[in-house]
Amino acid sequence: MENALRQKAKELLESGDVKVVIGYGWNRAKTRTTPVFITRPADVDKLVWNPLCVNNLSIYLTRKFKDILALGKPAIVAKGCDIRNIVVLITEAQIKREDAVIIGMTCEGVVYRQELWKGGLKPEMMPTKCHNCDVRNPHVSDFTIGERSTFTPPETPTGMVFDKIKAIDAMDASERWNFWVGEFSRCIKCYACRQVCSLCYCERCITEKNMPQWIETSAHPRGNLSWNLTRAMHLVGRCTFCGECERACPVNIPLNLVNQKMIQVVDSAFEFKSGYDEKTHPPMIVFKPDDKDDFIK
């Protein structure tokens, strides 16, 4: 698969169709993968493909990375879950489908704790998203590399995140409040969750608007709650549960729980799953006259 990927990258660069291939390469110690940007056909051997390729590279297609867009037309190495983010970017008019060549990789899952990985890939090493993945075969791509996956996701989603959401839903309001205030109290306002998210592409984030200061910038419980609720709210109907925010969080706030919860809310209220169809509008910019409003008196 790795060789096929390098071959395809070489072809694309040599033909001049694309100017840069965004993919995964080894870090210096060969313990993790890191994003690489290949501009010369001779460098394609730097591309790798293995279960450590966790990063969601779709972020490099957004306007956050103008220096990468300036290189010219990109080809991006993407797993199915990353392609879902690219599809959201297309539905939100951030990129056009023809602006990027998508090299879709069939995927059997990635590793949750990369620092502990010794080799091989067993289900217990994978994050929740891989256990329930229905895009192991890329659903939108120009080229697909790898053998077709025969995995079918379980009918009811399983995994740690879903179990925890059920547990939190079963709590009463004050227990939930204490749980979240406790989790958010660790937040240091580094905004890593925002920086790593390919859907947080605002040129100026609400937290940087200080006339007035909407969200307190100090790492104070009140501002922490405000920031984390606002971040979650801005991702409603858009988040694809790629899990990058939680992976990037230096203090391990379980952001996957709140994101997955909102995915479930959107699915039950608007029957919408983000990142599958590039022609459908995101749910928060459209409406139905008969949306359920039993809570509005």
Partner: protein, 154 residues
């Protein structure tokens, strides 16, 4: 908006010492504000605990307004606008409704007591509905007491 927060922990008390809640109402210019105005010009009396903020449309109400209201010491928040189909801007309240469906579930999941956040449709002619709404919401929040969970975030 200045960042004043009531640090004493309680919103206010009457002369007799009973708790009087602070309630923020975000209302739209065309229906609910006109409804409240009708209540006023009709000389209807209702609880004085509500502070009204008039916005062009419910679609203008950012969820962050509600968070900010709680941050600045509100014990309850009320959001109200035109009935579905009656929006002055045709579709603003439909978009707002979608947002509230998500936002309400998010706050529920975060453990905020949903008896402190009320949503309503009040038209320009529904002064009586407005008066009843304010009275009911005020009484309910008065029974709950001050929103110490949020004010206690220190």
């Amino acid at each position: 908006m200045s960042g004043h927060t009531d640090t004493t922990g309680h919103s206010g008390t009457t002369q007799s010492g009973a708790f009087e809640p602070k309630i923020m109402a975000f209302v739209c210019n065309w229906c609910t504000y006109a409804g409240a105005d009708l209540a006023g010009t009709s000389r209807m009396e209702y609880r004085p605990n509500v502070r009204i903020i008039k916005l062009p449309c419910t679609g203008r109400i950012d969820p962050l307004f509600i968070i900010k209201a709680f941050e600045n010491g509100a014990d309850g928040v009320l959001v109200s606008g035109c009935h579905p189909g009656d929006c002055h801007y045709t579709t603003g309240n439909y978009h707002a409704r979608r947002r509230w469906i998500g936002f309400k579930k998010l706050l529920e999941f975060a453990g905020i007591d949903m008896r402190r956040l009320h949503f309503s449709w009040v038209s320009a002619s529904e002064a009586i509905k407005w008066v009843d709404l304010i009275n009911n919401v005020t009484d309910e929040i008065k029974n709950l007491g001050p929103f110490m969970e949020y004010k206690g975030l220190k």
